[in-house]
Assembly symmetry: D2
Homo-oligomer: 142 residues x 4
């Protein structure tokens, strides 16, 4: 939706295993945040950023400041899900990502989230400017 | 804050164990949702509602429809936290809860959330009216 | 090791995300069991068995009866792991699997487990004979 | 059982919340390890040892080297469990603990584990002698 034509939106396939479900037979509400985290990390990796390297080489952490999550349809055991990442806005020291979790079989939207990620100094935890090259990549993705 | 004088706000003490933290040395962002769930369930239990009994006797499920979570200060390994539940609004088939996670030692607010809970039929998953006696309890708590 | 030459041992790549680690900076000890479960389920899927279908069509559950886990070297954030499944023995109603979790980069063995899986009736939870075709597949894998 | 008469065995009450269960309606097999960890940490705390202080003041980590877990009866949503810790043996740099998870209502043994804990240097991760005062406490508990 917010992508240009050349760069498809990043998406990660995720299988729902037993450990991701609860006694209701559906994915436990906190586990969607794990799925979204996995997709964000693979998205960053696809842009050539690794969290551990960011921390060690640049002294930067990317931390979640805010998560706004809507639970729309339950995802079930054995479902294959598609988790997407869209960069929808960013300042100099934070970025807003929109993430969707859809059932792969029929594209049902199970869970939708807007996640604000802040860039902070790994030692002081104070806001720091996001690396230019990451900003450039995000701008490209939009 | 939103409580009357006779009924103190419900709060649950939670210890931070190793399994709740991540490599950053802080509570993992999805685990605050687990803490909040524990507090909601103990709050309901304190009002004499058990989820399992609600399902079996009344055919009702309480499910999370929306979670709006702000991460303010990191909670750390071995911290003793206080997780509160406040009922801030409700319709006939849903209720909005405000939940805070504070460090017990100094009342630092680590995480704040507004959680919308919907009451649904356990079989059809359609909205159902919340039990009168639960509504009455919630009204009292406000 | 225990495979014949035609059938390579089943293995699943697993990335270590933040949610899998603890404040020690390493994979949390319970999370290796999640990785092993994922590998077992994908292994079963590769043999054309889905847990959910087993339950609904055959009335069978596969449950873990025993887990013997040795923690040898810590797996770290951002590690790419390889999780394997070997069937090492089986009776009529249970099977023993050996599972290894290795760092993909250098094949370091991080965690080793022997898992006993029992086949039970989904309603009574009593032991039931494993499906012949699953036994045949396991025999093949040995 | 292995306690002397003056020192009762350490036990921790644990409620089963939705996030601890899986689609089978029972506690997920990895989550028993979380319950056992909580009991171990509270047991250590009751002996006046905090993991974080051990690490910072003494440069020591206590890590799990081996876990041997038998799953006997499923624990269910809303169950109140009792998780115990018994010290059954120790060398100079490790100790073996026996842990039981029982349903509080009827003392049904759900899960049994023997956990080997090693004491290591927080930096080198090499074996280090367990503090004398912890050894003394453990000896007392036996």
């Amino acid at each position: 939706m917010s992508n240009n034509e050349d760069k498809p939106r990043f998406s990660l396939p995720v299988h729902v295993y037993c450990g991701d479900t609860d006694a209701g037979g559906v994915v436990y509400y906190a586990d969607y945040l794990k799925f979204m985290e996995r997709a964000r990390i693979e998205w960053l990796r696809s842009l050539d950023f690794e969290l551990d390297a960011l921390r060690r080489r640049e002294g930067l952490l990317l931390i979640v400041r805010h998560a706004d999550i809507a639970y729309l349809r339950p995802a079930l055991l054995d479902d294959l899900l598609t988790v997407t990442v869209d960069s929808c806005a960013h300042g100099g020291a934070s970025m807003d990502l929109v993430q969707e979790v859809r059932r792969a079989a029929d594209a049902t939207l199970c869970c939708w989230g807007r996640i604000k990620i802040a860039c902070v100094d790994a030692k002081t935890l104070r806001s720091k400017r996001i690396l230019e090259k990451l900003l450039a990549e995000i701008a490209d993705v939009r």
